[in-house]
């Protein structure tokens, strides 16, 4: 991921516009990417300090430093580093220093302190070479960490990743993002919604009158504490958004150290995301397994429906339950622990007459009471501590199964 200072953007008034690479810039980027990748590949098994030195030299000498620094950052993100310290550096240092101290104590007037003699003595005692000692003495420092692996990538792929990383870096500074999407394939929406759920993003989805959907996503800067993890999740949603036939996005930002309120607009048409794969979030997957192991009459499957209350909004459940005997259906949406606001939006949706039974699972530290939803409503809140309990959810399913569901609006005909 790129940091804000590596984003190529121009400010005009309160509008931030990304400046894409022009033909010349792209050619330069490809060349720089190839050079930097070559250096990085040649430095696998060498130290962070060694690679940093040569990379910094290339970045410093580049005509477009911001471009070079951005590419270098993306390469560093792909490197795995480890402390390579076969000898415990702390113990080794104590050995060497204590011996040096003893040597000092014996030194005569006019004698010189012999550093190499001290190192040689320690090396001999440990059955190592002086070189081993020199290398091992500060092997725990950051710059001495060894690059063990570099995730393979080609220069054109790196430049493509750089193109994507630009808007992603912008999203990391967002307070609110409004996305409008349009697709000819209905499945594409579901894929996108699933991805948003998988990333545990806080969003309100509403169908547009002229087709497509409008998605309002809370940005990391709207949370109590601006969370890097949440920002990263938002950035990861961008490849999924870019896949839709037509998409546009308006992000309200807090830009720079002054956190200046700016607005950034992006749009595009169907760019396939090669790494796309619909998933279930880990906690939902764990819950699904636990529910199946419980052996209740409730048959559980990952949800495929989008629950829509025209004029009020949309709710995308995570799991759908169907009772083996009665055929009653209940949905479950895991809201997790990001924001209370998201919970209140769901409560409003239910109170407005959402024609489905649904349980919302909410993390305890959002301090929402389960009593926030009336018992006559076809929805229930389940407040959980750390992990969701399959048993507690089944209890709520049983209770909801007896509650009346409002009739679908527009379904009634004269």
């Amino acid at each position: 991921m790129l940091t804000a200072d590596l984003v190529r953007a121009r400010r005009r008034g309160d509008e931030l516009t990304l400046t894409p690479l022009d033909a010349g810039g792209r050619a330069a980027a490809l060349e720089l990417a190839a050079t930097l990748l070559g250096l990085a590949e040649a430095h696998v098994d060498k130290t962070r300090g060694e690679l940093a030195e040569v990379m910094d030299a290339v970045v410093g000498g580049a005509r477009d430093r911001k471009l070079a620094a951005g590419l270098a950052k993306l390469i560093w993100d792909r490197a795995e580093l480890a402390e390579a310290a076969p000898i415990d550096p702390e113990a080794l240092r104590h050995d060497v220093f204590a011996r040096a101290q003893a040597a000092w104590a014996q030194i005569g007037e006019g004698d010189r302190f012999d550093r190499s003699a001290v190192l040689a003595a320690v090396a001999a005692e440990r059955g190592l070479t002086v070189g081993d000692i020199e290398r091992g003495l500060y092997a725990d420092l950051r710059d001495a960490h060894v690059i063990t692996q570099l995730a393979p990538i080609t220069a054109p792929q790196l430049v493509a990743a750089y193109d994507l990383a630009q808007p992603q870096a912008v999203l990391l500074r967002a307070v609110r993002v409004i996305v409008e999407v349009e697709s000819a394939i209905p499945g594409a929406y579901r894929m996108l919604f699933r991805k948003l759920k998988f990333l545990r993003l806080l969003c309100a989805i509403a169908p547009r009158a002229r087709g497509g959907y409008r998605i309002e996503i809370d940005g990391p800067f709207s949370l109590f504490e601006s969370s890097t993890r949440y920002g990263l999740a938002l950035a990861l949603a961008l490849p999924a958004i870019r896949e839709l036939d037509r998409w546009s996005l308006v992000a309200d930002l807090r830009w720079g150290t002054a956190r200046t309120p700016l607005r950034c607009r992006l749009d595009g048409r169907g760019e396939p995301d090669p790494e796309a794969a619909p998933h279930l979030a880990d906690e939902v997957r764990t819950l699904l397994d636990a529910l199946r192991a419980l052996g209740t009459p409730w048959q559980v499957t990952p949800a495929v429906e989008i629950l829509d209350l025209p004029g009020h909004g949309v709710c995308v459940p995570d799991l759908t339950f169907e009772h083996a005997q009665t055929g009653e259906r209940v949905h479950l949406e895991v809201l997790g622990y990001w924001s209370r606001d998201a919970v209140w939006k769901r409560v409003e949706l239910v109170e407005a007459g959402l024609p489905h039974r649904i349980v919302f699972a909410v993390g305890q530290h959002l301090r929402v009471s389960e009593a926030a939803l009336d018992a006559e409503l076809p929805a229930a809140l389940y407040v959980y501590k750390r992990t969701m309990s399959a048993k507690a959810i089944v209890e709520r399913l049983d209770a909801l199964a007896t509650v009346r569901v409002p009739r679908k609006r527009g379904a009634a005909r004269p």
Binding site: E90, R93, H94, F97, A98, Q101, W104, L141, R142
Partner: protein, 98 residues
């Protein structure tokens, strides 16, 4: 040697060794400017520093912890006829240095 990268455990071990005489000298960066108490330390050599009076007084404070029969000495390494001379004069504008 103690720098910002030295972990807390090793830091306290190094300081303990300095206090009990196992080590005779310690090289450090700004991280030891304040908050460390080694009564046995009697000589400080400032190799580099800013013109800040506050920082310099705090550094002096490291060797001014009382111990019977101790005489504390602070040396400054300054290159003559360079900006360092001016910086050194500036940071000594405090009663502690008069």
């Amino acid at each position: 040697m103690i720098t910002h990268q030295t972990k807390v455990k090793e830091r306290s071990a190094l300081l303990a060794h300095l206090a009990d005489g196992t080590y005779r000298a310690l090289v450090t960066s700004r991280v030891l400017n304040e908050g460390v108490d080694i009564p046995a330390a009697s000589v400080a050599i400032v190799v580099s520093g800013s013109g800040a009076v506050r920082e310099h007084v705090q550094r002096l404070g490291r060797i001014l912890r009382p111990l019977a029969g101790k005489r504390a000495t602070l040396y400054e390494l300054v290159t003559a006829n360079t900006a360092e001379q001016y910086t050194s004069e500036r940071r000594r504008e405090h009663v502690a240095y008069r």
